[in-house]
């Protein structure tokens, strides 16, 4: 990273002034602007739809701005107990998963980043194998079944909490940020490893801990495959993404409150749009602030991945 930063302010010696170069510049800016707009426009459209009244949506008049503003669709989403409950399940699972994942990653990465620890290679190798070869969907399912974790939230929290990829990032980062020599000094002062970990390593590793916490949290929040496999009967334990899958993608389930709570019928398209936005907004709000931590993690992971 240091070497990379040093070369940032360089001026690339371009041949300027020629009209060809100006046209090339204009083209590059135009292409990039167009491509990046495709990344937001879909969501602007869905947002507009979710805030429009149904007559305009049925007449297909809504594009990027709401027509006939109304919050009734959102009202229904909030009144639908099963949707808010799924949101609650997602938050609960994500928080516990992230905390557990952090503890496990630190507990593995700190000892194995110490070069003189005996058996270090064996343990590291045991962990890294899981990066390249996994049991697969069915063995995972059978394992979850024999541990009695089907139809329970533990199946969403425990199995994936420790990931070899996060471990690798943490270990790589610790090796460079907290070299053995620094530790020797603390050992001579008489500090035990628990103490060193708690008072030196963790405070020094705040950025990388943040990165890993976000990897864990966003990954858990977005995944639905395991929930689809493990939670089939208990509809009350469905996390948000799975709920969304049943409501919208598979459309096998209807909105609970659509007839009872609010008297006016809402077009299902509007309701779907509101529901998608309800699930997307949390990510949309935080991602501009968290993306730099992600970028950092990707860079460390790319060093040896």
């Amino acid at each position: 990273m240091v070497a990379a930063n040093k070369s940032v302010p360089r001026k690339k010696p371009h041949i300027r002034k020629k009209p060809g170069a100006i046209i090339a510049d204009a083209l590059i800016y135009a292409v990039l602007a167009a491509v990046s707009l495709t990344c937001v426009m879909p969501f602007v459209h869905v947002l507009a739809k979710s805030l429009s009244s149904e007559a305009y949506v049925i007449a297909r008049k809504v594009f990027l701005w709401p027509m006939g503003w109304t919050f009734s669709a959102y009202q229904k989403v909030f009144y639908d107990h099963s949707i808010t409950r799924s949101m609650g399940v997602s938050i609960f699972v994500t928080v516990l998963f992230t905390l557990l994942g952090l503890v496990l990653t630190v507990c593995a990465a700190y000892p194995l980043s110490r070069t003189r620890l005996r058996g270090r290679r064996v343990f590291t190798f045991m962990i890294l194998i899981t990066l390249y070869f996994s049991g697969g969907m069915i063995p995972d399912y059978l394992l979850t079944n024999s541990l009695g974790m089907l139809e329970s939230l533990t199946s969403l929290i425990l199995p994936l909490a420790f990931s070899a990829y996060n471990f690798l990032i943490m270990k790589t980062s610790l090796q460079s940020s907290f070299p053995d020599s620094l530790e020797e000094a603390a050992r001579i002062e008489g500090a035990g490893y628990f103490r060193i970990l708690w008072s030196f390593v963790l405070p020094l590793s705040k950025p990388i801990l943040m990165t890993i916490a976000l990897f864990l949290a966003v990954g858990r929040w977005n995944a639905y495959q395991d929930a689809l496999f493990f939670i089939k009967q208990r509809a009350d334990l469905r996390p948000m993404q799975l709920k969304l899958y049943y409501l919208i993608v598979a459309a096998t389930e209807s909105f609970q409150a659509s007839e009872t709570v609010v008297a006016v019928r809402t077009n299902p398209e509007v309701l779907k749009a509101a529901c998608v936005m309800f699930a997307t907004v949390p990510i949309l709000c935080i991602y501009p602030f968290i993306q730099r931590y992600f970028v950092q993690g990707v860079m460390i992971g790319a060093v040896k991945g």
């Binding site: 990379a4 940032v8 360089r10 690339k12 010696p13 371009h14 041949i15 090339a24 590059i28 292409v31 990039l32 491509v35 990046s36 707009l37 990344c39 937001v40 459209h45 869905v46 297909r60 503890v103 990653t105 507990c107 593995a108 000892p111 194995l112 110490r114 045991m126 899981t130 070869f133 996994s134 049991g135 697969g136 969907m137 069915i138 063995p139 995972d140 059978l142 394992l143 420790f162 490893y193 977005n222 639905y224 689809l228 993404q241 969304l244 899958y245 919208i248 993608v249 398209e269 779907k272 998608v276 997307t280 990510i283 991602y287 993306q291 992600f294 970028v295 860079m299 790319a302 991945g305």
Partner: protein, 310 residues
């Protein structure tokens, strides 16, 4: 450090390191338990591929039946289709999706307006942070027959296009959505590699009369070649894999021709029809081929004098 007599006496004992480093081993205990139970535990489950597994009997009481399950898998008509589709979807994904972030990174590198670059990058990263369910749901809002895109098309007098409701169109939409989702995020590694290029190389190229395009071809691309090769190896290894969530969020009952991939077949066999042994055999086949592909392309890359992956 001076070695005291007491220390030397301890040194004779082979387990002095345990006494010194017990705290480190204690820390390791919890994560290793998780690895053993949840990763290696699943490896035990792989034995089901060689057994006539009955869920009521459990792992150990079920009878071994050698490669019978594999024979059944390869004989199934569904398998041929799933195998073809997996290679087709992932192969096309690689051809279209691999160059996209490289091109995008090269374009971004030409941008000198800082704020424009920052905003563009932030927007381009967005799809990476969204779940496949949300992307699937939004795709149907946009591209279904009554969606906004077809509204625009029919308003201009043309016929509506069944983007997601007809097999070939679905395939194209699937690929485009995939490229769209990954290209922005994929630029990060390339941009980092480009930042590391020695600026003198560009100066020398300019002296030789290279214009911007030639600088890209003769300086930038050769300099990031190791990164490109490494990522290509990683992607080749995934040609047999593919995301279950991505296909599953975009598929519908009208377009099953290309949606039937190996992960979907494993799900259908294993979770929906309780054919655990066959599904596990198929999964094992898939991961072994995947592993061989990674090792093979790594070997070839090293043969050609590249860094490789492992």
């Amino acid at each position: 450090m001076t070695i005291s007599r007491a220390d030397r006496r301890l040194g004779r004992k082979r387990f002095r390191f345990l006494r010194n480093d017990w705290e480190l081993y204690a820390l390791l205990l919890l994560p290793m338990i998780f690895v053993l139970i949840f990763k290696y535990g699943a490896y035990i489950g792989l034995s089901v591929a060689f057994k006539d597994y009955k869920i009521l009997k459990g792992f150990f009481a079920s009878k071994w039946n050698g490669f019978d399950n594999f024979a059944k898998v390869f004989a199934a008509r569904d398998f041929t289709r799933a195998f073809r589709n997996t290679l087709l979807l992932n192969g096309l994904d690689l051809v279209l999706g691999f160059p996209a972030p490289i091109i995008l990174a090269l374009l971004l590198n030409e941008v000198r307006a800082r704020s424009f670059k920052r905003v563009t990058q932030t927007l381009l990263y967005l799809p990476h942070f969204l779940s496949w369910v949300i992307i699937g749901a939004v795709a149907y809002q946009l591209f279904s027959l009554s969606g906004i895109v077809n509204t625009l098309i029919t308003n201009n007098g043309a016929k509506a296009i069944p983007f997601l409701q007809e097999n070939t169109h679905w395939l194209v939409s699937y690929l485009v959505i995939g490229v769209w989702q990954t290209m922005g995020w994929g630029t990060i590694v390339y941009l980092a590699a480009i930042t590391g290029i020695n600026p003198e190389l560009y100066e020398a190229a300019v002296v030789d009369g290279a214009n911007r395009f030639k600088q890209i071809i003769h300086v930038t691309l050769p300099s990031i070649r190791p990164t490109i090769i490494t990522l290509l190896i990683m992607n080749l290894g995934r040609v047999m894999g593919g995301s279950f969530e991505r296909v599953y969020s975009l598929m519908n009952v009208a377009t099953t021709e290309y949606t039937y991939t190996i992960p979907v077949l494993i799900y259908n066999w294993g979770i929906q029809s309780s054919k655990y042994s066959q599904a596990t055999a198929l999964g094992l086949f898939q991961s072994v081929i995947g592993l061989l592909l990674v090792l093979g392309s790594d070997f070839i890359a090293k043969r050609f004098g590249e860094d490789g992956l492992l």
